[in-house]
Amino acid sequence: MRIAYYPGCSLDTTGVEFRLSTAFCANQLGLDLWEVPGWNCCGASSAHSTDQLLSLALPARNLAIAEKEGLDMAVPCAACYSRFKTVEAEVRQDEKVQQDVAQVIDMDYRATNNTRSLLEVFVEQVGLDKIEAAVKKPLSGLKVACYYGCYLVRPPKLGHFDRAEDPESMDHLIVKLGGTPVEWPHKTECCGAGMITLSPEDGLPLTYEILRAAQLCGADCLATACPMCLMNLDLHQESVNKKYKADFNLPVFYFTELMALTFGAEPKEIGLDKHFVNSLPLLAGIGKKETA
């Protein structure tokens, strides 16, 4: 299966392990990712807080290149995905928007192709059966809190692939990898996004609540599809511990990292050593017969 691929800025920097593990999984599953040549930043929160047309045009240029190639677009980063879905919907709904966007990007773009989150591509298009068949080292009952965050599922009017309030696609995936998804209430709570950096006293309480809920519900680790969420929960876990006199030691993974590990990847090859919370001790137990 061939699909256009938009890594987004984070996958070359703060989320480099998302890129490495995605490439590994795609290769194992025979998914042909065609990286959009000359792709540009989606504009993130900065564009939609500054100028409506700019916030539509930046993602649209990438989508137009994929449309020209006749391909749907796979987007790993949940935040980029949300911007792409927004443009797609607005261009389809309003002819004037379509024309304005086309003029600004100097390319035709009619949103005849679909943006899909990478999670959706793996779970729904590649399929859980094919994924299960590729598992060589199951997660051996590893207890995973599947953390969807905001942008994989909200707002539902954009036509997301999973439920807005209690999504379950990642939970189904974890089961197929041999892990045990925990029941927990913070699947779609906001991590604090940019507030963690811009105003830590306002942002950190959100990160704290997510880590606390995961721990209380018995999770060994969290899985996510968003580089921003991962940075807040992993890099800033130390700040949370300091501020709240807590002792969280919860590794946070991209779901693709857990997939790649079960497919037989070496931890270093997919960048697991790049996390701030050390996950290697926890992973020592995987690959054995399920014990949980």
């Binding site: 800025c9 070359d12 920097t13 703060t14 480099v16 040549p37 000359g38 792709w39 540009n40 930043c41 504009g43 993130a44 929160s45 900065s46 564009a47 939609h48 807080s49 500054t50 100028d51 409506q52 047309l53 700019l54 045009a57 930046l58 240029r61 949300s82 304005d100 003029q103 600004v104 990007i105 100097d106 905001c150 942008y151 909200r154 707002p155 539902p156 807005a164 309030e165 709570e189 906001c190 604090g192 996004a193 940019g194 507030m195 950096t197 811009l198 105003s199 306002d202 942002g203 309480p205 959100l206 890099l235 050593d273 790049k274 996390h275 701030f276």
Partner: protein, 187 residues
């Protein structure tokens, strides 16, 4: 809040109701149930709750909304827009208020629009975000030179932050895109 002069605020209420309607947001639908605020993860950091922001606009007190801390504390998580029983897109409303507050120079938390401006300059120049430069410029512009200064080396030690700028190889398309947006805005 001081008394409200109704004859003065009515035109403002009308202006904002129409402006928002054109963007697909009908604030007259809102019956003030507070569902948006109940689910808002940032509400504790706001001066007006999301429900109160909508009420201010209904009453024609747009200036109070534009000068609020609320619009800059909003994390754009879309929970309000997802749960509103009257289908008022409060998240998009926050975007439009931020754009207007920034345009008119009344932002209550100037660091946030300074961050956005610095971020977009990076995108215009390189086609992608150059995080190292973004962080340094942001700290200089907000005069908080040592803000998050410990994070840089931490990220770099993991190969997650680069000295060199990214290269989009877009043939200058992104620069032109920004220029066309500016032309259309007429500045």
């Amino acid at each position: 809040m001081a008394g409200i002069e109704l004859s003065a605020v009515q035109p403002v209420a009308k202006e904002w109701t129409e402006k928002l309607q054109a963007a697909g947001i009908d604030i007259t639908s809102c019956y003030q149930c507070g569902k948006c605020t109940a689910g808002c993860p940032m509400a504790q950091s706001m001066d007006y709750s999301p429900r109160q922001i909508v009420r201010l606009l209904q009453l024609g007190l747009a200036d109070d909304a534009l000068r609020s801390r609320t619009i800059w504390m909003c994390a754009s998580c879309e929970t309000c827009a997802t749960r509103c029983p009257r289908d008022v897109d409060v998240a998009k409303l926050m975007d439009l208020l931020r754009i207007e507050a920034n345009r008119t120079g009344v932002a209550a938390v100037p660091e946030v629009p300074i961050f956005h401006k610095t971020f977009l300059e990076s995108v215009e120049r390189y086609g992608r975000v150059y995080e190292m430069e973004l962080m340094m410029k942001f700290n200089m512009r907000t005069r908080k030179l040592f803000n998050n200064v410990d994070l840089g080396p931490k990220m770099m030690s993991k190969g997650k932050l680069h000295f060199m700028p990214p290269k989009a190889d877009d043939g200058g398309a992104v620069k032109k895109l920004f220029e066309r947006v500016r032309e259309r805005r007429g500045n």
